[in-house]
Subunit: 150 residues, 2 copies
């Protein structure tokens, strides 16, 4: 359809190679919870999940690890406008839609959605290297509900 992404912002934020990651039990459990959940989680959702298995874990540790794991590319840090930071275990390229009714976030596969950065650059003297795109609307459930009660 349109054109290609020159460069993905998230790539630039990743740690350049760097030393091997020390695999602590906390780290393993956090990653494992992402694998189980397979959705976006806020830091304190992760904290609650991890706490069930390691009651003495601290919130600080969770925050520090989420930061590290996202820099290393194990999870994706997603910061949608005006909301709490979230982390995403699903690393396939996708966008997010926030449902205006239930305020959940759902994934939108990125297959055909591209922003043409060349077109953007024609608007001025700047250089465009990345973008962030998010949607609002109705998730499938809420859409069905809304269509029944018009």
């Amino acid at each position: 359809l349109h054109i290609v992404i020159i460069y993905d912002m998230r790539e630039s934020e990743k740690e350049s190679a760097g030393s091997r990651l020390r695999m602590t039990r906390q780290r393993q459990v956090i990653l494992d919870e992402f694998r189980k959940a397979n959705t976006h989680l806020t830091a304190d959702e992760v904290y609650e999940k991890v706490r069930k298995r390691m009651p003495r874990v601290s919130l600080g540790t969770v925050y520090r690890n989420l930061e590290i794991l996202s820099r290393r590319g194990f999870v994706d840090k997603i910061e949608l406008a005006g909301h709490q930071k979230m982390f995403d275990g699903n690393m396939d390229k996708h966008y997010h839609l926030r449902c205006v009714r239930c305020s959940n976030i759902i994934d939108i596969p990125a297959r055909n959605i591209r922003v043409d950065l060349k077109t953007v650059e024609e608007e001025g003297e700047f250089k465009v290297t990345g973008y962030r795109l998010e949607f609002t609307g109705l998730c499938p459930q809420c859409r069905r509900i809304a269509e029944k009660n018009p």
Copy 2:
């Protein structure tokens, strides 16, 4: 070029009609500062500006007014990922680019940039009503600097 926006998210967040806005001196000064600045300002930048003219104004008042003024459509609330909220007196439709070098935000006119929401809806059962799009890159000054020092 591409297609049209069905509906702009910011519209939905505006106050539905509602009573007339009471024009306090604080409100006037805030609006006036936006007119003078003609850029994005954070709440505390506004606070500092207003304080020079009304030393007893409170930060709370500034926050409350920015909220109200943006709901009424006098200024635009812009919340870029992972950064402090900003408010924008420029109400022409435009996007924002954050310079990765100086971290300033610059405006990108929206002339030819459109996201085709129909294409997005083909990706799933959800309904898409709005989007938020922001860019990263280099502002004109930093771009020039970067091109001289490759």
